[in-house]
């Protein structure tokens, strides 16, 4: 993450020497480099090989931005992601989210489940009819279709158990479901 330091100096040194224009150009490159680190976990092609690390390429931009800010502020807890998020400059976060969102959602190898669980209908109002995410009254709802099942299951039980507490409606919804209902949803969604 050399770029973090170069970037820091950029603000000071480059600004003084060449003015804002040069610095902004450098910063854009630096952000691309910054995001390289992300792919070592989130996958060089948009999906990593660890099903507990979520797909983020092609995810809803406003959702991504909120998550990065939440990790950075501590509203969403994960030791690694909190470090990673705080390595991005605050003013770069929305651009980073837009860059990631603009990449293609990767294909996946999960086999589709036979039948949709009953609880699914309740999700579509916010996460979209095809569960590819969108705006909801509660803020940007992420794409769920084709996300890793392991990650979805963790996210859902996190909302239910309080480990993830950055969205109250989702917490309430997940508490209302039984563990096996959540597991069935995760499996089905991953297969979409």
């Amino acid at each position: 993450m050399r770029f973090v330091w170069i970037k820091g100096r950029c603000a000071v040194v480059w600004l003084a020497m060449f003015g804002i224009g040069v610095c902004a150009a450098r910063a854009a490159d630096a952000l691309d480099t910054a995001l390289e680190t992300c792919w070592s976990c989130h996958g060089a092609n948009g999906a990593g090989n660890d099903p507990t690390v979520p797909v983020i390429w092609g995810q809803n931009a406003r959702y991504l931005e909120k998550q990065i800010r939440d990790f950075s502020s501590g509203d969403r807890e994960d030791q690694i992601m909190s470090s990673m998020a705080s390595s991005l400059r605050r003013e770069d976060i929305s651009r980073a989210a837009a860059l990631i969102a603009a990449k293609p959602w990767p294909g996946h190898a999960d086999t589709p489940a036979a039948a949709a669980p009953d609880a699914l209908a309740a999700c579509q109002g916010c996460h979209g009819a095809d569960l590819s995410g969108g705006d909801s009254p509660e803020g940007a709802a992420p794409r769920l279709a084709g996300q890793f099942a392991d990650y979805l299951a963790t996210a859902m039980s996190g909302f239910a158990g309080g480990e993830r507490a950055n969205q109250k409606t989702m917490s309430a919804m997940m508490k209302a479901l039984k563990p096996d209902e959540r597991a069935a949803l995760a499996k089905y969604l991953a297969g979409l």
Binding site: G8, G74, I80, S86, E163
Partner: protein, 456 residues
């Protein structure tokens, strides 16, 4: 490390080696002390000196998160001659802190998901639990466990949760809580990924120590800076106390009276003391700490240190003494230059030491009595993995020598997979060592038999 130091240290070691094992001990100081899991060998002794710390980003900051897999069929743990490691209990999801009650019962926090305390009563031979009960559940992020008052007849067990400390009634032999959790401290700061709150009491029972890790990696969001830092650092804060909604009262060891009142910063600048242990006999507080991320493979060392009242240990502005970090928000702190205490035992960076305990004696080699044993959860921010093992810290006259020795290892299976992530260590009353693994939810037990060494 100078050649002379190395010689002195290795001859001291030769002495230990002669008594306790038949191994010739491999000793690594200076730059050779650094390395990843490929170098790990039972018995290998290392010493990292503050002068040997690599410059920031001497190598790029890597991300290599381990993937926890079930134990591969051909995998086995390795330890030193004479020692045996065997699973003591399995199926303990999220196994974290282990504490032994005065009657020998084993208390375990299973922090995530859920948050519960499990009690196990060992069989006569100590090899497995004979009874297992859920002492209490529904305590979010339950982590630290401490019996109070200290001594043979506790009346309560205190539990550190992310945002608070609670206590439940307890008397020797209870396997289930006989009353509800009572809030003792309710104002611990939350968020930022550092959620482990360890709790311990001074031997006289007058002080409760509570460890609260930082709210972020390196305080990149901390402003506004107090106008008068000198005033800020007066009690209840102390030298090097961070500030702001996110970092005030964090990266600290705090003290309270056991009723949860009289909050004070005991020591500052300790990024995340996830293993807080009071040394038997001396009452000295020790912390095992994960240092900051994103500075490269070998920067900066994690550590175990004795903690002085009012001591400042560097975070976020400095590390390992006077190495400056320029990333904290709100500007540099030249006023703190030279004031950060150098920790006692420096570890390979990114090892992620979590729990530590002291060997009371009774089973392990006699000259290891009083030594500390530390569980290393293992790295993510390093190109090749490191940690994922139990190490021994030799002590002399109650003080750490600064060295550490590979004791139990073998959880790494290739460059990506691991089949265990050690969290805490604790000695049973017979002198055997338990350690927890939250990767696969196991408690292991390490025993020692002298005959086995002789037989080799």
């Amino acid at each position: 490390m100078t050649a002379r130091n190395l010689l002195a240290a290795s001859s001291a070691l030769a002495l230990i080696a002669g008594v306790s094992t038949s191994l010739a001990i491999d000793y690594r100081g200076g730059n050779s002390a650094y390395g990843d899991w490929h170098v790990d060998t039972p018995g290998l002794m290392r010493k990292i000196e503050p002068g040997d710390v690599a410059a920031p980003l001497a190598t790029p900051s890597a991300a290599n998160r381990s993937k926890v897999v079930p134990k591969p069929a051909d995998a086995a743990l390795k330890t030193m001659p004479g020692f045996t490691v065997a699973p003591f209990a399995t199926g303990l999801q999220g196994a974290r802190v282990i504490r032994i009650a005065p009657n020998g019962d084993i208390f375990l926090s299973q922090s995530r998901p859920g948050g519960q305390i499990t009690v196990m009563r060992a069989s006569k031979d100590g090899s497995k639990p004979e009874m297992t009960e859920t002492f209490t559940s529904g305590l979010k992020d339950a982590y630290g466990i401490a019996f109070y008052p200290p001594g043979p007849n506790p009346k309560w067990v205190y539990i550190g949760m992310e945002g608070k400390v609670v206590r439940l009634p307890y008397k020797n032999g209870d396997m289930k809580a006989t009353g509800p959790a009572e809030d003792i401290v309710t104002d611990l700061k939350i968020g930022g990924g550092h959620w482990t709150r360890d709790v311990s009491f001074s031997p006289d029972g007058k002080l409760m120590y509570v460890a609260v890790g930082s709210g972020s990696n390196v305080a990149a969001e901390m402003s506004p800076r107090p106008d008068d830092l000198k005033a800020w650092e007066k009690a209840p804060h102390s030298l090097g106390s961070a500030w702001g909604a996110k970092e005030e009262w964090r990266a600290n060891v705090l003290t309270y009276t056991p009723d949860g009142k009289n909050k004070q910063v005991y020591a500052a600048g300790i990024r995340n003391c996830s293993g807080l242990t009071v040394q038997p006999g001396t009452g000295t507080v020790f912390c095992a700490t994960n240092e900051r991320d994103l500075l490269g493979d070998n920067t900066p060392p994690d550590y175990v240190t004795s903690v002085k009242k009012g001591g400042y240990y560097g975070w976020p502005w400095y590390y390992m003494g006077n190495h400056e970090d320029t990333r904290p928000d709100g500007g540099a702190r030249p006023d703190l230059a030279g004031k950060a205490i150098v920790p006692d035992v420096l570890f390979q960076p990114h090892s992620a030491p979590l729990g530590l305990s002291f060997n009371p004696g009774g089973m392990f080699p006699a000259e290891w009595k009083g030594d500390a044993f530390v569980a290393m959860h293992g790295s993510w921010n390093r190109s090749l993995h490191t940690g994922y093992k139990i190490v021994r810290l030799p002590f002399k006259d109650n003080k750490p020598t600064g060295e550490y020795q590979d004791f139990v290892l073998g959880f790494t299976a290739g460059e990506e997979n691991v089949w265990g992530r050690p969290v805490d260590t604790q000695f049973m009353r017979d002198g055997s060592l338990l350690f927890s693994d939250d990767g696969n939810g196991v408690i292991y037990r390490v025993t020692y038999a002298k005959e086995k060494v002789a037989a080799k």
